[in-house]
């Protein structure tokens, strides 16, 4: 732990001396993980009160809050202390945030699935409330009064009757002796001070002054910088290697062969050859000089064009039914009208602005310290321990800030590479992926093909709905035998279909993976929402009904939906349907609100269109309206967006707004530009020229966000904004032009 108490006293004083607002500066104190060789701050000798692993109160009143989740832009380093400090009645400006390393004592640390608040709100409230309760008991004991007579506010305990008070710091030793309350009482929401407030970013100062430390910024004494040439085809191996020219490059110190790739890949290194040098540039130059003859292996057959055709064919063939309501075949056979459509969406790369980077050191006792921009330090412990053959507890997995994650950084392959190289060279080693590495060698979001059919009665109402989904599974990353979609993926926008249709059948078809498949912000919800929300729009137009009204009629009357009633297995993002129901009233409410904000139905000039889509994911409901314009050449511009989220109780509204704004842009990138393809098993794109992201000149004039005020347990926030964006845009494109987009990205058809 002491390694990540980070900044020296001197550093702290230097920063506080800068005086642009004591609050922000005090909070910047512990920064994010930079390995410090300097002795820890003097306050460590003070008496401490540590009722749990998240709270450490010092006798000088400094409150260390240990953040066990990774900060990747979602704002958890600001929101987590908001919850703990509120329940503790702590003063905001006494908080020092410490980034926790990997460790079982923290519970689940995987910062993935938008879980940090939705799954851990009670755990965090408990951490604060039990600390508060013990401080109150300590004060009551000291003053010999009843516990019920003392209260806490702003880092102080009061006994109103006698006018006595004691600062939290003064109570540290007595509080530490109290028994941990079994079930501390939580505050009533009326008394919240920080929860529900838009507190400023804890890392705001560091992030605007170049002081924030990311995975790529770690520097250890005497370390080597590594760049790794990995097999161009997933699973490939080295036939022969000539590294003589690489070794001759100025600055190159060593060339090391990586362990061969494993099957399944899990989070293990991909193989290849590492060039280690005295700086990153020299390592990259040395790498270019390597001569490697590769055995591409079986995945050289992977060709996106033929794979696409095969997937579409599969989607046209009866698949495995996993959800069955009523009799779809009868509905389709007897229908006045049948509408059908195919939707296709490509592989995507998460492309966080900071490429994967990790630094490792092997200690004399054989243990390993590794610093990385990981979403999941426990996976780092597990993967590195497995690779080096050491105990998990001997892997000290430090967490830096993440320059974006989006699912890429939940995989521990890059820290594992650094750890391997540190052991092989006996030196500290930093591995920095290039952008080309990131785009070509990552864990791709799955390509998908879907087929939908709907039957309509004479009034335009849908009587039957058949939906087939085909995609290579994330499961293949963990089990080489996997050939088709896994249940955990079908939960994501497929079996939780909210439409009120009497006959519905959902089927899956197989697709074998030839690259590593992984999570990407909102995962399968992306393509499922694209297909379902596009098809709903197609049906509206087929029925001649306004798309918003039609969407609301598809969602139907207020009710709670249970996919298991129709034979599906359903995990509801790990939470119970009692606590987090699929509530169609909440889905309809966000649709109505977004339409209202966008003045849905207003007259638009030629070449403009509004599109709407709504989707529940990660226990939150989001509706999106996009207004687009299309020029004479058929090129799209997204003019404005209106986004509404119902995520139950929110901790920091400004961060929720920021996540929605970000989701809007992220969704635009995948709707308009993003596509990864393979030929001969190799990825064809390599940098932001081949894999463009939305730039500021393409950003909408405005992204208007509304947060529904709903008294419900917190839902996810980081991901749910993404799924409805693409269909809102393509539906708007249809409204503007009459051209339906059934394949992403739009760039491919020259529409942007």
């Amino acid at each position: 732990m002491s390694d990540i108490r980070l900044l020296s006293r001197r550093d702290f004083l230097r920063r506080t001396g800068q005086g642009t607002g004591g609050l922000v500066l005090a909070l910047s104190f512990a920064g994010c993980s930079r390995p410090a060789e300097e002795p820890a701050a003097a306050s460590e000798e003070l008496a401490e009160f540590t009722p749990n692993v998240y709270v450490n109160l010092k006798s000088d009143g400094v409150l260390e809050i240990h953040c066990h989740r990774s900060e990747m832009g979602q704002g958890i380093r600001t929101c987590l202390p908001q919850v703990i400090a509120d329940e503790m009645d702590a003063a905001w400006d006494r908080i020092v945030l410490v980034q926790a390393p990997g460790g079982q004592q923290y519970g689940d640390q995987n910062t993935d699935g938008s879980t940090s608040i939705r799954q851990q709100f009670d755990l965090l409230r408990n951490a604060g409330a039990s600390a508060r309760e013990m401080l109150l008991l300590a004060a009551a004991e000291r003053w010999q009064v009843e516990r019920s007579e003392v209260t806490a506010a702003e880092h102080t305990v009061y006994h109103e009757a006698s006018g006595r008070s004691a600062g939290f710091g003064e109570l540290v030793e007595d509080a530490a002796r109290q028994e941990l309350p079994a079930e501390p009482t939580f505050k009533s929401p009326d008394n919240y001070r920080y929860i529900g407030e838009s507190m400023d970013l804890i890392d705001g100062f560091d992030m605007t002054t170049g002081q924030a430390n990311y995975g790529i910024d770690t520097v250890l004494p005497d370390m080597l910088y590594a760049s790794i040439e990995r097999p161009p085809v997933f699973g490939g191996t080295i036939r022969s290697l000539d590294d003589s020219e690489a070794r001759a490059v100025a600055g190159v110190v060593d060339v090391v062969r990586m362990p061969d790739p494993t099957s399944p890949p899990v989070f293990n290194p991909l193989g290849g050859v590492a060039v280690l040098a005295t700086n990153t540039w020299a390592a990259q130059q040395g790498r270019k000089a390597l001569k490697i003859d590769w055995d591409a292996g079986p995945n050289a057959v992977y060709d996106s064009e033929s794979y696409k055709q095969a997937m579409i064919e599969t989607s046209h063939t009866a698949g495995s039914p996993i959800f069955n309501r009523g009799d779809v075949d009868a509905a389709l056979d007897g229908a006045d009208r049948v509408v059908e459509a195919d939707y296709y969406a490509p592989h995507l790369s998460q492309a966080p602005m900071e490429p994967p980077a990790a630094t490792a050191r092997i200690n004399e006792d054989g243990s390993c310290d590794v610093w990385s921009c990981t979403q999941n330090p426990q996976a780092v412990q597990q993967t590195v321990a497995g690779l080096l053959g050491i105990e998990q507890t001997d892997v000290h997995a430090h967490v830096t800030l993440l320059g974006g994650g989006f699912g890429r950084k939940s995989k521990a392959d890059f820290p594992a590479e650094a750890a391997w190289l540190a052991r092989e060279t006996g030196r500290s080693v930093k591995v920095t992926w290039t952008r080309e590495d990131d785009i070509q060698q990552g864990y791709l979001h799955a390509v998908s093909a879907q087929h939908l059919q709907a039957s309509m009665d004479g009034d335009g109402a849908v009587t039957g709905w058949l939906h087939r989904t085909v995609f290579p599974s994330i499961g293949s990353t963990f089990n080489a035998e996997t050939t088709g979609p896994g249940g955990f993926e079908l939960d994501l926008g497929f079996v939780d279909n909210p439409f009120d249709i009497g006959n519905m059948r959902l089927e899956t078809g197989d697709a074998k993976a030839h690259v590593r498949i992984g999570w990407l912000r909102s995962v399968c919800n992306i393509y499922h929402a694209f297909a379902v929300s596009s098809f709903a729009d197609e049906l509206a137009h087929a029925a001649g009904v306004d798309p918003k009204d039609y969407l609301l009629s598809l969602i139907g009357p207020p009710r709670l939906i249970d996919p298991t009633a129709d034979g599906a297995s359903y995990n509801n993002y790990g939470q119970s349907l009692e606590q987090h129901p699929i509530d169609t009233a909440r889905l309809s409410a966000v649709v109505e609100k977004a339409a209202d904000m966008a003045s849905w139905g207003r007259a638009l000039p030629e070449g403009r269109g509004l599109g709407i889509a709504a989707h529940r994911s990660f226990l939150a409901y989001v509706a999106a309206v996009a207004e687009v314009s299309v020029d004479d050449a058929g090129k799209l511009k997204v003019e404005d967006m209106w986004l509404v989220i119902d995520a139950g109780r929110v901790i920091n509204p400004d961060r929720v707004v920021a996540q929605m704004e970000g989701a809007g842009i992220f969704g635009m990138s995948l709707a308009m530009h993003g596509e990864i393809t393979a030929k001969g098993g190799s990825i064809e794109q390599n940098n932001f020229d081949g894999y463009p992201l939305v730039r500021i000149n393409e950003a909408p004039n405005s992204i208007n966000v509304h947060i529904m005020d709903v008294d419900a347990p917190p839902g996810g926030v980081g991901e749910p904004g993404v799924p409805p964006i693409a269909p809102a845009i393509t539906n708007a494109y249809f409204a503007a032009t009459g051209n339906r987009v059934r394949e992403l990205p739009m760039r491919k058809a020259g529409l942007v």
Binding site: D200, T209, E354, R435, A699
Partner: protein, 152 residues
């Protein structure tokens, strides 16, 4: 080859290959890690610094070309982290992950130097070389507008 670089007003003597991009000299040799690597191909702007006041993509700018010139990185943009842009960035809580923001602020600072009152279109043009995967663009525009207001 020995090269003298003036970074944030202090003079550094480096023994590096002349074709090493300025980015790596700044990060790995001078140890100033506020300037970020995002693409290495002048496509993302994360590495933006000022050379004699002009914004350049340091990943694609050889260190030899910077010799004898004045280099400013995010760490040297202001004494106390209080450049009007840095303040506006904090007031509007622009950063999400924060990784692109050094480059964004450096591009924006160069814009305001040559155009103290930029229009929306000016902002979009000047900032279009800076990617933000987190999607903070609408706040970046607003923060530049606010800083321009404060400055004038």
């Amino acid at each position: 080859m020995a090269i003298q670089l003036t970074i944030n007003d202090s003079v550094h003597e480096f023994d590096v290959e002349p074709d090493m991009p300025l980015l790596w000299a700044i990060r790995d040799i001078a140890g100033l890690t506020g300037t970020k690597f995002g693409c290495g191909k002048a496509l993302c702007g994360a590495c933006t610094v000022h050379v004699d006041g002009q914004p350049v993509r340091s990943c694609s700018y050889p260190v030899s070309a910077a010799a004898g010139r004045r280099i400013t990185t995010i760490e040297g943009l202001s004494e106390n982290g209080d450049h009007p842009l840095q303040q506006a960035w904090r007031e509007l809580n622009v950063p999400q992950c924060g990784y692109c923001q050094s480059g964004q602020i450096m591009s924006a600072a160069a814009l305001l130097e040559r155009n103290p009152n930029p229009s929306r279109a000016d902002i979009d043009t000047a900032m279009s070389g800076n990617l933000c995967r987190c999607g903070t663009y609408t706040r970046i525009r607003a923060a530049i507008e606010r800083a321009a207001e404060v400055k004038s």
